[in-house]
């Protein structure tokens, strides 16, 4: 069976006119897909470019944290969205073990922090400053939190330190952890119905921006060491007394063996580079226009020929 596919792919390769120095392997390049749309479309975009170059491409759905272990082992070839805030730790851990390489950053920056949909601002006009947010804590109260406000943090395993920040800054908020991103959206969706004020954990780039316009809460600006040295930040005795970095990196990563096995695909991956608006557009095609990810990718490629054709040569 293996021989047959090899023969077939070799045949396909032979008739595809393209010039590279070293031949790419005919084995499929495995691209991981996660559970948020921009990443899925971006993976399809890069996959379709690679296919056009004659590479065989395969998509596999994986967990977004566990994927770094799979990249390290070569089960998965590359990862196109390494978020500093969300996956920096897993990525660094995999780097330390070896087997995974850093293929550079996108122009896009990532940010994740406390966030509110626009209608909240009507009830609490002082926003986005965090002090103003704290002054209107009472309007965020729920039956379970008494007179304190409720802040809906991401799942516990995202390690966003909401609780620590509330304590460090002496805020009148109770932190409740949602169990999944879907739970966060459900809460925003329910609040939207009668425009209940709500403050939740959110991030950009994200489809939610297109559905519910909103803003990040401005906390004391991030200073390096805020998470390690209590002296840094406004509260001299506490960690996490700053907001998250407003310009986290968005990286590409690949399996160590990729460069040797698929040299031209690797060269292309090094050049791949998206901006925030481009990523938001990809997410919008799926989340708002309801295209399937592969159709969305094809559409994006059609509309942005100038962007990606520069990467090929």
């Amino acid at each position: 069976m293996k021989m047959m596919t090899t023969a077939l792919t070799a045949g396909v390769l032979a008739i595809t006119p393209f010039a590279v120095l070293a031949e790419d392997s005919s084995d499929p390049i495995v691209i991981p897909i996660h559970n948020w749309s921009s990443q899925i479309v971006m993976s399809n975009v890069v996959g379709q470019i690679l296919e056009e170059q004659g590479n065989a491409v395969e998509y596999v759905t994986t967990d977004s944290q566990a994927v770094y272990e799979s990249v390290r082992l070569g089960d998965v070839t590359m990862e196109l969205e390494v978020w500093e805030g969300a996956f920096g730790a897993s990525f660094r851990a995999a780097m330390e073990k070896g087997g995974i390489v850093d293929v550079g950053d996108h122009d896009a920056v990532t940010r994740e922090d406390w966030w509110y949909p626009m209608w909240t601002k009507e009830a609490c006009p002082g926003l986005p400053s965090w002090e103003a947010l704290n002054d209107c804590a009472a309007i965020f109260a729920t039956p379970e939190t008494g007179d304190k406000g409720r802040y809906l943090d991401g799942p516990v395993d995202w390690l966003k330190h909401g609780q620590e920040r509330v304590e460090a800054l002496g805020m009148d908020f109770v932190v409740v952890n949602a169990g999944s991103a879907a739970a966060l959206w459900a809460e925003i969706g329910a609040a939207e119905a009668d425009k209940t004020p709500i403050v939740v954990f959110n991030w950009t780039p994200n489809f939610a921006e297109a559905v519910w316009p909103g803003e990040f809460v401005e906390f004391p600006a991030w200073v390096d060491g805020c998470d390690k040295d209590p002296a840094v930040g406004p509260n001299p005795d506490a960690l996490y007394d700053c907001g998250n970095p407003a310009d986290g990196y968005l990286k590409k990563a690949a399996w160590e063996g990729m460069e040797a096995k698929w040299p031209s695909a690797y060269a292309l991956l090094e050049k791949v580079n998206f901006t925030n608006p481009q990523i938001a557009e990809m997410a919008r095609l799926v989340d708002v226009d309801e295209l399937e990810p592969d159709e969305a990718a094809a559409e994006w490629l059609d509309a942005n020929r100038d962007v990606w054709e520069a990467w090929i040569n």
């Binding site: 069976m1 047959m4 596919t5 077939l8 559970n35 948020w36 749309s37 899925i40 065989a56 998509y59 596999v60 759905t61 994986t62 967990d63 977004s64 944290q65 566990a66 272990e69 799979s70 089960d75 998965v76 897993s90 729920t142 039956p143 379970e144 809906l152 799942p155 516990v156 395993d157 409740v176 952890n177 949602a178 169990g179 999944s180 991103a181 879907a182 739970a183 959206w185 459900a186 809460e187 925003i188 969706g189 329910a190 939207e192 119905a193 009668d194 489809f207 559905v211 799926v286 989340d287 309801e290 295209l291 399937e292 159709e295």
Partner: protein
């Protein structure tokens, strides 16, 4: 019933219930001491230092087996074989570029063939159901993802069947195998599915292979149990007839035992198919593409309507496969007169082939019959979203849910949780032992003590208690709502049928779809968690109540009628007591379902074992994953053992079959 205590002094003979009461009182005393602040802290919660590093030991053990014994080399070899099978079905069903490179089969050909098979098994209605399901799947624009799921299902289900059948035969032949297998099966059936997933990924590579393996393991236990049961029930006359005609041992098995146990084995097949379908959706958590993955993605981008449609497809597929396999159980082999022409004896085969070839050829000329793009789909997802949001915005709905949320969270659930957490560990274990002793006797009580003791030693006590609290709250509420429904429905045939159908549907509807509406109604709170478990736990309660009440021997109800009992008197004094053992089985299943669902409810946001389990899924922390899974399993087993023993005792006492 009284069991002598082991106390040497012959003068004091305590009954089982007295001992249980004494233990419970001791627990109450301990708890009051804790409230008075007089209990030493090591009796309240085990000190960290006492907790053995189970996770570390297990990790070391797994790594030893995996790397030093080279199990991973072996499993990765198996992975390749499995991958080949999955690639083949994937190519045929949705055209993945793999050998034999002839797929995908046009959707119309598959739908037509299924309709013919449906006709053979159950007439026009079944044909309509089977064909209709596949036509719906195609029209709604879910054909490819449904086939991704099916491509794993049609590999996993037969494998689970063969492995289950072989193990079942082995367990029937040798008591030793039986003794080893039984406890393993009990644990497997109570282990949360997150615990299957991680080892599957580590040993069988992320993606469809790991999904298939997890699915197979999940589906095997009922097959083994049904096979053994069927073989044991074969009547001695049949066996003797076989022996007299001089069968060899193989012939005995092939031509006597297995055909005689056909019904049970086919019931096992039905169970395998249903469990496979349930699991194949859940394996989306480990990267299995298909309906489950799409569902997760849709929920992740807050598309309720589309998630709901996927749920409907899954239910339709499940109902179709269920009804077809059940029809197959009932259908007896057909026999033909000598000399019947070949095509007449194999009418279905001929028809199915004709339909298949016909539509394949048609699809070759008319593309609509081979592929329907998403753009042509009939999906009404957006419209449904609008409707759902409008419904939630209604003032009445909001008012009611806000009230329920307030009362339940502030007055009932949170205080109950805090109360359970305030009980000292040791006293908690004593309570459980007393409960088990009172209901089931000494052996289950000792095991209950050991099981909960282990949970205490695992170091996850608080989270275990929170898990248990969700389960108890949900099952209690399910009792309050489910029992009256069951009792009312049992009064008439028509309502029984309707309610049982609703139960089937609720059960096959992928459980995590309930989560989003629950959150939208009740927020990220304990109420949402309990409500989503409640729906799931109510199903077996209602079903077994209906079946229990309807199974009461008519002589008994007639006797009650003749002695002039009112409807209420008859219900309370005759029907309910006789139905109680069956209802207890339903109660037990409700608890098992609740333990299953509470783990999924981690997606809402909980502080229980499920949350931690979900967290381990993202890593390679196999030891911790296993410890957490076992905690859930041990708690579930304690209830299972106690209630089933009680039900069996009670049945024997009442002289019911």
């Amino acid at each position: 019933m009284a069991v002598l205590s082991t106390n040497a002094a012959p003068a004091v003979v305590w009954s089982r219930h007295q001992i249980a009461a004494a233990i419970a009182i001791a627990a109450v005393v301990l708890t009051s001491l804790q409230y008075a602040g007089m209990l030493p802290s090591w009796l309240h919660r085990l000190p960290e230092a006492w907790i053995p590093p189970f996770a570390g030991w297990l990790d070391a053990f797994f790594n030893f087996v995996k790397d030093d014994l080279g199990l991973i080399v072996f499993t990765r070899f198996l992975t390749e074989q499995l991958q080949f099978l999955l690639d083949t079905t994937a190519n045929l069903l949705f055209g993945k570029r793999r050998w034999p490179n002839i797929g995908p089969i046009p959707w119309s050909a598959i739908a037509a063939t299924m309709a013919v098979v449906g006709y053979y098994l159950g007439g026009w209605r079944m044909a309509l159901l089977a064909g209709g399901t596949f036509v719906w799947t195609a029209l709604i624009g879910q054909w490819t993802i449904a086939m991704e799921t099916m491509s794993v299902l049609i590999v996993a289900a037969p494998m689970a069947f063969v492995i289950g059948l072989l193990l079942g035969i082995a367990a029937w032949k040798s008591t030793m195998v039986d003794r080893i297998i039984r406890p393993v099966l009990s644990v497997l059936q109570t282990l949360p599915f997150f615990t299957y997933l991680l080892p599957a990924v580590i040993f069988f590579k992320v993606g469809p292979t790991a999904g298939a393996v997890a699915t197979i393991i999940y589906a095997i236990p009922p097959m083994i149990l049904m096979t053994t049961l069927g073989l044991q029930k074969v009547s001695p006359e049949v066996v003797e007839a076989g022996k007299m005609s001089g069968c060899t041992r193989w012939q005995m098995l092939r031509h006597v035992y297995i055909p005689a146990a056909r019904t049970e084995i086919l019931v096992g097949v039905n169970q395998v198919i249903m469990l496979c379908l349930a699991m194949v959706v859940l394996t989306a958590f480990i990267g299995m593409p298909g309906l489950g993955a799409k569902l997760l993605a849709m929920m992740g981008s807050f598309k309720l309507g589309r998630s709901f449609e996927i749920g409907v497809t899954i239910v339709l597929l499940a109902v179709t496969l269920d009804r077809m396999s059940k029809a197959w159980v009932v259908k007896m082999p057909e026999h033909f007169e000598r000399g019947t022409p070949w095509w007449q004896r194999h009418k279905t085969l001929v028809l199915a082939t004709a339909a298949f070839v016909g539509f394949t050829v048609l699809a070759y000329f008319v593309t609509w019959f081979s592929e329907i793009g998403r753009t042509q789909s009939w999906s009404k997802g957006k419209e449904m979203d609008v409707a759902i949001k409008a419904f939630l915005a209604l003032d009445g709905v909001q008012y009611v849910t806000d009230q329920i949320r307030y009362v339940l969270n502030v007055w009932v659930l949170n205080p109950f949780r805090d109360f359970l957490l305030s009980i000292p560990t040791f006293a908690f274990v004593l309570f459980v032992v007393a409960f088990s002793l009172a209901l089931a006797g000494r052996r289950p009580a000792i095991l209950a003590g050991v099981f909960f003791g282990l949970v205490a030693l695992s170091g996850w006590w608080d989270r275990s208690v929170i898990t248990l609290y969700s389960v108890i709250s949900a099952v209690t509420m399910a009792l309050i709502i489910g029992l009256p429904i069951g009792i009312l429905a049992a009064r008439s045939d028509r309502w029984s049928r309707r309610v049982l159908l609703a139960c089937d549907t609720a059960q096959t509807f992928p459980s995590f779809i309930y989560l989003i509406p629950a959150i939208m109604l009740f927020g990220i709170t304990a109420t949402s968690v309990v409500m989503s478990i409640l729906i799931f736990a109510m199903v077996p309660l209602v079903r077994y109540t209906v079946e229990g009440l309807r199974g009461v021997p008519p002589e008994m109800t007639e006797a009650a009628d003749m002695s002039g009992a009112t409807k209420m008197q008859k219900l309370i004094n005759v029907q309910l007591p006789l139905a109680l053992p069956t209802m207890a089985v339903g109660f037990n299943q409700a608890i098992m379902f609740a333990f299953f669902m509470v783990i999924i409810a981690a997606f809402i946001g909980t502080q229980d074992l499920g949350q931690e389990l979900q967290r381990t899924l993202a890593g390679t922390d196999m030891g911790k994953n296993f410890v957490l899974g076992i905690c859930v399993s041990l708690m579930a087993l304690t209830f299972d053992m106690t209630i089933m023993k009680w039900a069996a005792d009670k049945k024997r006492m009442l002289g019911l079959p």
